[in-house]
């Protein structure tokens, strides 16, 4: 055997080093198990949402492994990023570098998921997100949304109004003075003007108020048929609904999904309509139970979307392979009907996710879907 | 003898109360001048006015022949007026010499940018000033403690460090606010010796005290305040005999 030259020696040493480094990487597939990263807010201010995301992934992984239809065992590796954007960045880095994860799911809140997406995009790692913010799929080429972008949810509300609004009926817009509230109200106003409707009144409020009597009184004077609410603070939504009921406001409220607001509002939530990509209705009982089995009391859209995302991921790796490139390629040509929602269609240009949301009314015991009409 | 410091007609009002009421004080060059009065007589207010800490409602202050009325205290300090306070203002966790070096502030010429990288100029100047500070420490018998943390010193020696810091600024007028406060009796005598020695080596000193015994023995001249007004002014022997002083101050403390 020929003696190794200096360069060859270096190359051999380097490949040995790489091999050693490869051993320490835990992500991807080693033939039997497929490990992937779930970076989520398990603790801190957004834990309610982050835990939903985790439950959805875990429920799907359990189903995938139980089905026996796949060659590999699915093993989500969960990183708690503590609702802190700096830790979310660091967790995403750990996932894609030290741990060599081929794909990342989460986190949920936009201030956490944006920096995580910066990390995954630079590392060429596909990223499944549930955030409703437009920017998250507009600005990155590696993100795939498993939910409905906020302007499309608002569009769903407007479609409902267009179908239902009688000539003598009117619409009001109410929003919290938060980023979510302000941008939601602006979108709704624009979309309303496209169907030729001018809101009778627009009220922006500080979501930390205790007394909404002035706001409700203003609404009573304007007496709109529908009140479109953009407010993501559950306690605030509940306060508005309760005081509206006490003061006898008759309007139909349609609000964005603020998980927990129904429980907090109690009786006042009866008749309240919410727009969301998914509802835990009787028809969805099977999925709802699976999610509850993962330890969350009231499954919401986040857990259902995370469930579908993980199921879609299973299909992708089954058809394409387990590397980052394989997964990206598979997602960019994905056409998948999930358990929570049908019609997940992605391409390299369109990674926005669902085109429509649903509207459901709370009848006091459960949600009834009122839109789209079946 | 010319007056180094001359305050005339000083007035300070706090609401309806006139804390300092048309006070004249004249401190002669090279003298050890005492300012006494019972608690609440307005001594500290008067000193604060003279040293630029408190506002002057009316009256004038002349220092070294210049009108310095209302001048900020750091400007007065750079003109040569140094003072100490009733309570300690030292850096407890720094060494004695570093504390006293603070008194050299106005004499150090290097500027901020030099200090960022401790240029040779800073090294040179610091060394020079340290030598001078050592001399002051030796004069006050503090040299052996130069590198000790202030917090480790006894109360009395800390007061000496404060005095050293004021002296280190090479003042033309040294204003001491109750230097004997809190000192045990034997120390008061030592302090008296120190002050006399300083006067003999050429310092002009204005001492504020309510300890009348100390001032009577060491002062060249005294001004007695009571309820914001000057009730006596002159050499201790004369002041001692003044009926107003006996009534306002000594009279109440026959046993003192």
């Amino acid at each position: 055997m020929k003696k190794l030259t200096g360069i060859q020696e270096t190359a051999a040493a380097a490949s040995l080093a790489l091999a050693v480094a490869g051993c320490s990487a835990v992500g991807g597939s080693d033939g039997d198990t497929f490990k992937f990263a779930v970076v989520t807010e398990k603790t801190g201010a957004y834990a309610d949402y982050g835990l939903q995301l985790e439950a959805g992934v875990e429920a799907a992984a359990a189903d995938i492994n139980a089905s026996g239809d796949y060659d590999v065992e699915f093993e989500p590796v969960v990183y708690d990023c503590q609702s802190d954007s700096a830790i979310c960045v660091q967790s995403a880095r750990e996932a894609v570098s030290a741990d060599g994860m081929p794909v990342v799911i989460g986190p949920i809140v936009s201030v956490d998921v944006l920096p995580a997406a910066e990390v995954t995009e630079r590392a060429d790692v596909p990223h499944l997100v549930m955030a409703v913010l437009n920017q998250i799929t507009d600005d990155y080429s590696n993100t795939f949304r498993f939910s409905t972008q906020s302007d499309r949810s608002n569009q769903t509300v407007i479609e409902y109004i267009e179908a239902k609004l009688q000539p003598d009926e009117t619409v009001a817009i109410v929003n919290a003075t938060t980023d979510f509230g302000t941008s939601g109200a602006a979108q709704q106003k624009e979309q309303l003007s496209e169907i030729g409707v001018e809101p009778v009144i627009e009220i922006a409020h500080d979501p930390d108020q205790a007394d909404y009597t002035p706001l409700i009184t203003q609404l009573k004077e304007a007496d709109p048929t529908y009140v479109l609410l953009s407010d993501s603070n559950p306690a605030d939504v509940a306060k508005l609904l309760r005081q509206a009921k006490e003061l006898g406001l008759e309007s139909q409220w349609i609000g964005a999904d603020a998980s927990g607001s129904i429980e907090l509002a109690g009786d006042a939530a009866v008749g309240y309509m919410t727009v969301s990509p998914w509802f835990p209705t009787t028809a969805n009982k099977e999925l709802t139970d699976k999610l509850i089995a993962q330890g969350i009391d009231t499954p919401g859209w986040i857990s259902a979307m995370a469930y579908d995302a993980t199921m879609a991921l299973a299909q992708v790796i089954d058809e394409n392979g387990t590397s980052s490139e394989d997964i990206t390629e598979g997602l960019e040509s994905l056409s998948f009907d999930g358990i929570a929602r049908q019609g997940w269609n992605f391409s390299s240009e369109d990674r926005l996710g669902l085109t429509t949301s649903q509207i459901a009314v709370w009848n006091g015991t459960e949600y009834e879907i009122v839109w789209p009409e079946r | 003898m010319t007056a180094l410091l001359e305050a005339t007609g000083l007035i300070r009002r706090w609401g309806g109360l006139t804390a300092v009421d048309r006070v004249d004080v004249s401190v002669a060059q090279g003298s050890l001048h005492g300012l006494i009065g019972p608690n609440g007589a307005g001594k500290t207010t008067l000193v604060n006015m003279i040293t630029g800490v408190d506002r002057i409602d009316d009256g004038r202050v002349r220092f070294q022949g210049d009108d310095v009325t209302g001048l900020a205290s750091h400007r007065l300090a750079s003109k040569g007026m140094a003072r100490t306070f009733q309570t300690s203002q030292l850096f407890e966790d720094e060494s004695v010499i570093d504390n006293v070096m603070a008194g050299r502030h106005g004499h150090i010429r290097y500027r901020f940018p030099h200090t960022l990288f401790y240029t040779p100029r800073v090294v040179r100047e610091e060394r020079g000033h340290r030598t001078e500070v050592y001399a002051v420490l030796r004069e006050l018998d503090l040299a052996e403690d130069a590198h000790r943390q202030v917090a480790e010193l006894s109360y009395g020696r800390r007061r000496l460090v404060e005095l050293a810091r004021a002296i280190a600024s090479q003042p033309t007028l040294l204003v001491l606010d109750e230097p004997a406060a809190g000192l045990p009796g034997s120390d008061v005598d030592v302090l008296g010796d120190v002050l006399r020695r300083l006067r003999d080596s050429g310092y002009t000193i204005l001492v504020i005290e309510h300890n009348i015994g100390l001032l009577m023995t060491i002062c060249d001249r005294m001004t007695v305040l009571s309820e914001g007004k000057v009730i006596a002014d002159g050499v201790p022997a004369v002041v001692r005999e003044s009926p107003e002083v006996i009534e306002a101050y000594l009279g109440r403390n026959d046993d003192a």
Binding site: T43, S85, V89, Q135 | A77, A82, Q89, F91, Q149
Partner: protein, 347 residues
Amino acid sequence: MTDTLTRPHSPPVPGPGAERRASLLATMAGAVLLIVAAAVPALTDFSTTYLMAYVLIVALLGLSLHLLMGLMGTFSLGQAALFGTGAYAAVVVSEDVGLDGAIGFVLVAAIGALLGLVMGAVTLRVSDLYLALTTLAIGYILENVVRNTDWLGGSQGLTGFYITFFGRSLDDPRLLCWIGLGVLTLFMIMISSMRRSKIGRAFMAVRESPIAARSIGVDARRYKLLGFAMAGAFSAIAGALYSAWSLVVNPSVFSIDLTLSVLAIAIVGGLRSMPGILVVAALLTYFRNSAADFGVADYVLLVYGALIVLSLRFLPLGLGGLTGSRAVARVRRLVAHRSRSRGGGRA
């Protein structure tokens, strides 16, 4: 009655010679530490290097508190305002002005110093609680302004930017670490040389009492402004490095959370001790990042709070205060004395 004015008989204290030896020793130890720290990024993995860079950023902020609170005695809650301004300034300078970090960071430091000056000027006449609240309010104002400025990305902030240094992207965490280490070393040298000069003594005089400081000729206002300007420059540089580190800058960089966690580090480490702050910055940042691994993620704030309470109660000068405590001082003096009696020093 005890005589407290005359000098008691006690072992002589180390003279200037011993002091010089001690500072030489400290410098050498610092140099060794620096070399070791500089080697770490080359030897460890990507995410550990990033974690180290984050520690350095936090340590820089800690240093600015050391300067403002430890040396100058100004209780400021405006760290995040300065930090956030630096973070945004770095992106604007790099993306919109197109400057390389080697020049850009100097500009960022100048912007930070300017804001520090403004902060100092606004709080010139207030002290203590009012000063703390005013500096805090400046943070709130900036956060709100940025949130409503579309040019700065509004509430979502700025993303997708690239900061370079000498033409190389700071996406390389090793480069980020080395720059952070360089800046930290530079600032430490600046602070410690300043501390041994008239500037440091003026800061300390202002800390003990602005009135007394003036009486020894220190223009207290001028030094307060100087301190704020320097703290502003340091914090802004920390913010600039944070931009490169986090890849996204949003209005949360102005948040009180950041100020409070740095405050906790400075208090536990010792406001007057640079080494104490550095050690605690490393430990607490590692702890915070790995809290989930220890299973205590839910109790992070509790741990922080408990550390603050315990250190205020038992170590008011923080961990760094331990080295200045009487027991340690006594040992140090004994050692110095022994070395001197062997003929090393002079009185």
